[in-house]
Amino acid sequence: MEKYFSWARNMDLQFANFFLNPFYITAVIGVSLASITGSVVSHLVRFTKTQFLAIESLHMILAAAATGYLMNLFINYLYPDITAYIIMILFMTMVSYMISRGYEENMSIATVAFLSAAIASLASYGLAIYSPIGPSIIYNILFGSPFFLRTTDLLVSIYMTIIVLGAVLILWKKILLLSFDPEYFEFLNGSRKTSLYRIIVYILIAVSGIYLTRIVGAVAAHILMIAPSMTPFIKKISVSKSTIVILLISLSSVTLSVIANLPFGGVLGIFALIFYVTPSMIRSVGRH
């Protein structure tokens, strides 16, 4: 009996060590905040039909983040994240300006994607040459490291979550009405106000993209910005339910990535495939 209890006590200690590990706690907090923001933003993306923007924003995120770090090398007081936010907002403003001037969405996003791809490549190259840790910074931007977030990163995450969620909460009804019937919305609000709301939505997506990249990396940020609004196992569109689902999936991914010693983005991608895509595929096979 004594033996059994000591074994159990050891197991308890192992679990306690595992769950109270500061790296694990940091990742849990960071990924939870990112999942909540990602879920809300993914609904924003779905309702406003800006999937093209969310998907194509990889170049922009990489360009903005790499340029932010590069500029920090030469001008110390330029905080990389702030520069990245500003550059990302400029990209998104450019997209929305082109669309408002009558260019097709594809044309607008392609123009900005080409520009940002060029900047991303040049900035990454510059980082690799001028910074001794350049390649690891680029790896970090792409794949993230939620286990190695600093306290300041977590604080920034909390502020950003509050800002993004606060803005979405204030504008939620307007965003729904704009997405439901853009023409009627324009009729009641005028074209300038309607364009302004569209730009705000684009900027919210842009800012969230950079913030999520900071926590989980650009690759996983894409999953968080798109997957939660897919509803294969939720019958009706529900932001709260899909937030709980992505939260559970993300936290499971954090845990499994520690246990299996795999990158968080990879595990999250596999989970997303299992939980979001497979049910839809099974259903479509069933229909045929």
Partner: protein
């Protein structure tokens, strides 16, 4: 007093000359039904009247106001129902929330919303999500939303599309009763005028330019119908050719 005055209106969208020298006047209060084939410029005409689309030349006045110069006054005077095809039905909004849109933007009050829900028979669906409703009920929600805003001129862009034949008559009767009771004017774009005819509205036959304007018996001539739809045959009283969504023969 004129509800709408349009003179020598020309609209280009890109290279396309969508409206050519369109002119007509609508007294207040009265009802105008705009008829024409797909691509005739019906919706463009409505959007130009509302100030959404800028005209290339010509004059438009809505209650003596130029919609391009004073869009705010147009918003106060007009209520509008766009085509249902532009709507995303899967946005999670309830019927009451949709009908209350003008209240949300300070253009109406809750009493009008309740009245609109009541006269369109949507009271029992008020707490249902839009995506749960059938096509006909969805159309009625949009009609109710237009009615929930105070206006002197109602503009409806194809209010009868997706509505079954029985409900079409009901919706037109409903609109005509409101128009008469409240002494307001109404412009309706519709492929199916059969339900409107009994109310003797003005008809604008449009095919990029005005083919005919006036009362139905003056406008629906074989010559005009041939100009609009390419061919028309006399068979009984009036023969109507529509490429619609359910053409109608009377």
């Amino acid at each position: 007093m004129k509800a709408v005055e349009v003179k020598d209106l020309n609209v280009f969208i890109g290279e396309a000359h969508v409206l050519k020298d369109v002119s007509f006047e609508l007294d207040h209060p009265s009802v105008l039904v705009i008829v024409g084939p797909n691509g005739a410029g019906k919706t463009t005409l409505l959007k130009t009247i509302l100030g959404f689309i800028k005209r290339s030349s010509g004059i438009i006045k809505v209650f003596n106001t130029d919609p391009e110069k004073d869009p705010g006054r147009i918003r106060n005077l007009v209520s509008y129902m766009p085509q249902i095809h532009n709507i995303d039905p899967f946005i999670p909004l309830k019927v009451r929330e949709i009908v209350s849109t003008p209240v949300f933007f300070g253009e109406s009050d809750h009493d009008l919303v309740d009245k609109a829900l009541q006269i369109t028979g949507l009271e029992e669906y008020a707490d249902r999500y839009f995506y749960e409703l059938s096509g006909g009920l969805r159309q009625r929600v949009l009609v109710a939303r237009a009615l929930a805003k105070k206006a002197d001129l109602l503009i409806f862009d194809e209010p009868l599309s997706m509505v079954d034949i029985g409900s079409r008559e009901h919706i037109i009767d409903l609109l005509m009763n409101i128009v008469r009771k409240e002494s307001i004017s109404m412009i309706v774009v519709s492929h199916d005028v059969s339900h409107c005819i009994k109310y003797d509205p003005y008809i604008l036959l449009l095919n990029k330019t005005v083919i005919g304007f006036g009362k139905a018996r003056e406008v629906f001539t074989l010559e005009n119908l041939a100009k609009i739809y390419g061919a028309a045959t006399l068979n009984g009283k009036i023969f109507f050719m529509g490429e619609e969504h359910g053409s109608s023969v009377r």
